[in-house]
Amino acid sequence: MPLSFLIPAALAGLAAIVIPVVVHLRRRPRSKAVPFPSVMFLERAPIKSEQRRRIHYWALLSLRAVAVILVVLAFSRPFLTDDSSLASAGTGPTERVVLLDRSWSMAAGDRWSQASAAALEAVSDLGPLDRASLVVFDQGGEAVVRSAPDATRIRAALDTIVPGALATRYGPGLKLAQTILEDSELAAFEVVIISDFQRNGWSGDEGVAFPEGTAVRTVSVASGEVDNHALAGVNLARERLGERERVTPAARIVRTGGAEAREVDVILELDGRLVQTRSATVPPFGATGVVFEPVTLAERHTLLTVRLPGDALEPDDAYHMVLSPGRATAVEVISAPSRGTSGDLYLRRALEISDEQSFALFGSGSVIPDEGSLESRQVVLLNDRPYPAGAEGERLRRWVESGGGLILVAGDRGRWSEEFGDLFPGSLGGTVDREGERGERLAGLDFDHPVFEPFRDPSQGDFASARFYRARDFRVAPGDSVQVLARFDDGSVALAERRVGQGRVLVWTSTLDAFWTDLALKPVYLPFVHQLVRYASGRNPTIEAFTAGQVLDVADVAAMESAGLGAVAEALAAAEERVALTPSGGARDLVTDRSFLALDQSGFFQIRPPGQDEVRPVAVAVNVDRREAELDPMDPEELVGSVGGTVGTGAQGTQAPTADALRLRREDQERRQSLWRYLLVGALGLLVLETMLSNRLSRKGRRGGRHARATS
């Protein structure tokens, strides 16, 4: 193998070889000058000049010269050329990206072992100049190894990677691979995608486009039908018993695969203890439900888990929730005295109908509660009655300003006196009858507002079917705190809101019964009333279980309230140090500037300020995304086509190597051999040897000088 140089121009530095010669000749006599009366005879001596031009210490000179040569050679980056390697350059070195799916569906059967083997195989044939990256992806993408020159690091990384708890999303991983390829200087690109190619992870609009000519190879580990049973969800029917609540968990079990019905034991755990076991028969490709005996929620943050026996895909065999009692919204419904309770029949029934007992209804007449009772209410709903005047009105105003929610359903009798005009978003006028028998419809709904945001999707509720025959004229008051949430076809106001202090006042200009509108007869009535009251209360819906992949900001009080952690939200937000214990037993520090907790494992995350041993730790339940259990595969070629790649292993070995390819290959060979390191070490050793020899000769010279003076 001939010797080549990556930077041959550096060989010009060999001219520096004259430096030690010159130094040797010029500096050698520069010992400490000895004063002498006159040098007239010395300058006259012919032997003097001859001596100066002679090189006495050939060994020293040789060492210095060789050291210089080695340094120059090191900087010229020598390497032994391997012609066979150069000939195989083909289109040049290849940047290979191995995309490995680590979503939890990859834990099914032997998919993960197949995937790991495929990843190892994908990097087993790396050429000397090739580079390989390992990107694992689920809902996000992570470059575990980026542009490594050999497979060693990838092999090591594969030993530590296991399927996670997140679902499949092809977009992030493909995007990361695209970035790696775009950043690469190599001549050819190749992507190997190893996945079970679940269809629900692919949206088709990921916006990924690999560089032109990228060869994409797919390795599918989808192994046909998987007989998997899974807990699709757990519903809780709540029942209030005084200060306590009883919940009746009902689990829904689905099964994909199988040929015969399967008998399974469904387990209910509370705070980690087995409470009940139910048997269920799950038909193939079917679903069934299991209802447990009611259990009492006595304490906050009760950990509830429903489990199925393990099967091929275990992550979806458990469902976790965190439950707390006493979360119902207290609503005081006050109607006009003359209407009695019959006037708010629809309203009351709508609020009573709730599986989870979300609302606690109070009030049975037209009396405004006293101050003590108001404190325990979140919402006061004035149904077709005037806003109270005098002291009652002031009491209600103070309650609203301190955070209460007031809903005034105008009806025929709704009004307020001048002194409370600043409490409402406008002023009510007379009754307006809508045209003909067809009435008006709700048209201008603000779907960005929390009241109507759940109805953005038409499948979630259709307000267009409701007719409004009569409503009150409403003139909106100017001000930033006033907002119109819904209008009728003619542009008149149907629902308006005003923020007052920490509370909210909403005015509905029609009625919420069946007199002026048929909204109460429409399916959307019930969720609308729930949402209206829930918004007025200012309380966010409690999330009893998160989905893996979500992020919780423990410093955000509102987010923590949503997570059912409102009782400790402020304390946690104020704490400078927080610790989260993960379901796998690890601990994560959540310091002030890193308050985001990535919920990337299935189970219960426990959060607490360090050093505080709570009897019942604050917990967040996290479940895997159930959609990941749908293992229907997609056609990998569909994916390949959409990212702009070409199916196959790329055009290797047939084309003549390009100049860039050869250059890169030479660089790679030089880098692998790294001869310059040995040369520098050799030069250093020679310089050390030269120093030792020089010192020895110097000492010898001094001894010789003393001896000469002594003898003279």
Binding site: P29, S31, V34, P35, P37, S38, V39, G704, G705, R709
Partner: protein, 307 residues
């Protein structure tokens, strides 16, 4: 060197060892000690030479100083005669001391060439003053540094000037001696003490200036033993004490040639001085001072006889 060592072992002569003399700060004391000790060792009269020698009688003529009448002869002959004496009186003895930088050299740190020259000059001036000579001193490097005119009263001043002399500047013989010649109007004995690090032609040209004015010139050529033998080992860089020139040499290889060149230089000066009727005395700073003084006296005696 063996000769010097033998002499330094003799009684009394030990005081003439330059290394011992170097410990005496007072130059006058040093000179007196050396001269008296030296003369005692010779067992000679302290006052050599004649400064007032009788020549003849002549007949008195009016106008002659009556104090010069020889009354004894008048008593015998009843005629008046006047005594006549030699015309010359005391001689001028002027020492020209080289204080150029090279004179500061001394392989033996106890005594430099300048020290040795200083002792020698002090002794000669003291000795000359004992002979009733007028003594003076000129120190020079590349010109006259100090000038003490010859006088019967200037011994102390001369010794004081000697004591203060320091060798530091580059030297140049000819301009210095030319200036001295111009300032020494009266003939006398001129002692030049130097290391004569110039080409023989240049040295002789300078000395010839003095000789041309009728001075009796004695050149004391002072050299350190190391100067004659070249110190240093395998590789030594020598720096000229006057010019600062640096010459790297290998003394071990150069030594023989160097000795030969120095000896040749000295020999040339000796021969050329003798040919020009000047005296050249080579002095080694390792030799006792009596050797130099002895040489000086010999020269003085020789000159007195020749006169």
């Amino acid at each position: 060197m063996a000769h010097a060592r033998a002499r330094s072992d003799t009684s009394g002569a030990q005081f003439l060892d330059p290394r011992i003399l170097a410990r005496i700060d007072n130059l006058e004391l040093l000179a007196r000690t050396v001269v008296n000790g030296f003369l005692n060792g010779l067992h000679r009269a302290p006052h050599l030479g004649l400064s007032m020698d009788f020549a003849e009688h002549r007949a008195y003529v009016p106008g002659d100083d009556v104090r010069h009448l020889d009354w004894k002869l008048f008593a015998r002959s009843d005629r008046h005669f006047v005594k006549q004496y030699e015309a010359e009186t005391n001689a001028n003895v002027v020492a020209l001391l080289d204080v150029s930088g090279s004179m500061a050299y001394g392989s033996n740190p106890e005594i430099t060439k300048l020290d040795y020259a200083r002792f020698l000059t002090a002794c000669i001036l003291h000795f000359s003053r004992g002979q009733r000579d007028r003594v003076g001193l000129v120190t020079f490097d590349d010109g006259i540094a100090e000038f003490v005119p010859p006088s019967a009263r200037n011994l102390d001043l001369s010794l004081h000037t000697l004591a203060r002399a320091e060798a530091s500047r580059p030297g140049a013989l000819r301009p210095s001696l030319l200036q001295a010649t111009e300032r020494l109007a009266r003939r006398g004995i001129v002692i030049v003490v130097s290391d004569f690090y110039e080409e023989p032609d240049s040295v002789l040209e300078a000395l010839r200036l003095l000789r041309g004015r009728g001075h009796d010139v004695i050149a004391f050529h002072v050299l350190d033993p190391a100067e004659r033998d070249l110190p240093g080992g395998d590789s030594t860089t020598f720096e000229d004490m006057e010019s600062g020139d640096v010459v790297p040499v290998i003394p071990t290889r150069l030594r023989a040639g160097y000795r030969e060149m120095v000896e040749q230089h000295v020999q040339t000066l000796l021969e050329r001085c003798t040919a020009e009727r000047m005296d050249h005395v080579l002095l080694d700073t390792s030799q006792p001072l009596d050797h130099a003084l002895f040489r000086y006296l010999m020269i003085r005696e020789k000159k007195a006889r020749s006169r």
